[in-house]
């Protein structure tokens, strides 16, 4: 009963003493030479949430993802995952804890088939035999089963992006960061992927952080949005709130229609 009560309280207040969010990002900054790629960014992610990260090119979205999964050293601040400090840890141990990402410019393993790429990640939590079965399941879900034996170097751009997504899912994450996986997809392929992501959140209770320029996808997927601009968090709120936020509108140098109406907001 106690846990039920606390859950309700979180629902009401959004905060509760002793409550631990899935991801807690506290004042992280990253500098490259003199460039502040991220400045004092803080936010939290709850289990089963899908959060969109939007912002113009160069805003620091990829840098944020790299910082979270351990590919990028922080200049300051820290990150907790499931209540444990993970900033400073190596990417493989963060992946083992349950957070991984896809790469914006596909970073698959060339010379290996689609299936072998996915198996490699599935081996994190499975022996080879079950890793193969799990991987085939994921490929079926994403409509990649027909090309499972194709060398990833021979895939089309959309197939590469989907293989990135499949590999991310296969490692069994609790929070998966998607860096523009839908950039090359056609509208109908995008709808399929949106459906798959929502289904996975429900069936496997995976949370997502989504960087995407397609506003239609962002609107269809996300519970909350975080807006980055020049490395700073400009705003945070529901898609509707963000659409009305004057600062955000200004950052995008246009009307509110171009923020959340057009295909390419950035």
């Amino acid at each position: 009963m106690k846990t039920d009560l606390s859950k309700e309280l979180i629902g009401i207040t959004g905060e509760f003493k002793g409550h631990v969010p899935l991801l807690e990002v506290s004042g992280i900054s990253v500098t490259f030479g003199g460039l502040h790629a991220l400045s004092d960014v803080s936010f939290t992610v709850e289990p089963n949430e899908i959060i969109g990260i939007i912002g113009p090119n160069g805003a620091g979205k990829t840098t944020l993802f790299n910082s979270l999964v351990g590919l990028q050293k922080l200049s300051s601040g820290h990150v907790n995952f499931d209540g444990k400090r993970i900033s400073g840890h190596k990417p493989h141990s963060i992946a083992a804890a349950g957070m991984t990402k896809t790469f914006q410019n596909s970073a698959l393993f060339p010379g290996m088939s689609v299936l072998d790429n996915v198996i490699t990640a599935a081996l994190l939590r499975n022996p080879l035999k079950t890793a193969r079965q799990e991987s085939e399941k994921v490929l079926k879900k994403l409509g990649l089963y027909e090309v499972k034996d194709t060398d990833v170097a021979d895939l089309t751009f959309p197939q590469k992006a989907l293989t990135e997504l499949a590999r991310g899912l296969a490692s069994g994450p609790r929070l998966l960061l998607l860096d523009e996986v839908m950039a090359a997809l056609s509208p109908s392929e995008m709808d399929d992927v949106i459906g798959v992501i929502k289904e996975i959140r429900k069936s496997m209770s995976v949370s997502f952080l989504v960087v995407e320029h397609h506003m239609r996808a962002i609107m269809a997927l996300c519970d909350r949005l975080i807006v980055l601009n020049f490395g700073k968090k400009l705003a945070e709120g529901t898609p509707q709130e963000i659409a009305k936020n004057p600062q955000v509108v200004e950052a995008y140098l246009g009307s509110s229609a171009s923020v959340l109406g057009g295909e390419h907001a950035a």
């Binding site: 999964v69 990417p91 493989h92 083992a96 790469f103 970073a107 290996m112 490699t120 081996l123």
Partner: protein, 338 residues
Amino acid sequence: MKFKGVTLNARTAVYLCLAVAFLIPLGMDPDGYLLRIVSMVVLFAAMAQAWNIVGGLANQLSLGHAAFFGLGAYTSTLLFIRQGISPWAGMLAGGVVAAVAMLLLSIPLFRLRGHYFALATLAFAEVLKIIAIHFADLTEGPTGITIPYGEPSFANFQFESNTSYYVVIVALFAVVSLIFWKLSTGAMGFRLRAIRENEQAAEVSGIDTYRIKLGTSMVSAFTMGMCGTVYAQFTYFFDPESIFSMTGISVRVALICIIGGMGRLWGPLIGACILIPLDEIAVNTMSDVAGLGPFVTSVILIAAIIYEPRGLISAWERLRRRAQKKHAAQSGQAAGAV
């Protein structure tokens, strides 16, 4: 082809031929030149296979594997001469010493990227050579060590007939190749391939790239140390210059593997079958003109690398695929004509 109920496909046929090829030298003159060359070919194939574990599987190009070779040779030989410990036990001790040396070397190196590993291993072998020359109390110095010829016995790792050494060398090649094969297949094979193709993506997928690279490089050093012991027992003599040699050992085993096919099980054997006889011919026929022999081999090597950078095994596979396609096209035409 069906043969007494056993279906003989191309692959098993190749393996049968290979097994027969390994048996042929058993019939050679034990004191002959030919058996010696064949033994050297297989020994260098074993050394190149040891190199292949770190160079081919983990993509860490070592140019100093003579270091681990020499550590193996010195460890087992000194234990045998000074303490009377059987070289078989010495071989394992030498492997451990080599692996620990690799560990100490790798901890700082893996943090660096690119060619640092190659340069540092190269320097490490040179430093060991200098140490071996100057600490004569321990190593007998520049004159080298001659293994005293005692009563031939298995325990002493000394045999009457060179044929026995050949058998030991083949067994060594089999053991190192088995280790290579175990690492390159199964779950570890997936992880190593991922590390080779994209280290960042491998890390993010949950692979501890540092630990796996460290582990494979230590296994490589261990097996190279074992080769050093076998070499010492086979030749009865070695000195710092020859055992820690950059051109004679370090670069040579790397080249054998690159020529044959890096990361491929049969690459080292193919490379050794070509490079060792070639070196031998160069030494015997062109020694009048200084440097001509090495020059000719270098030219052949460069040509081979330009023609097929992934090694001769890949070139062979490409030719075979082309032949199969041609064959398929021809039989397709024939079927069409009927």
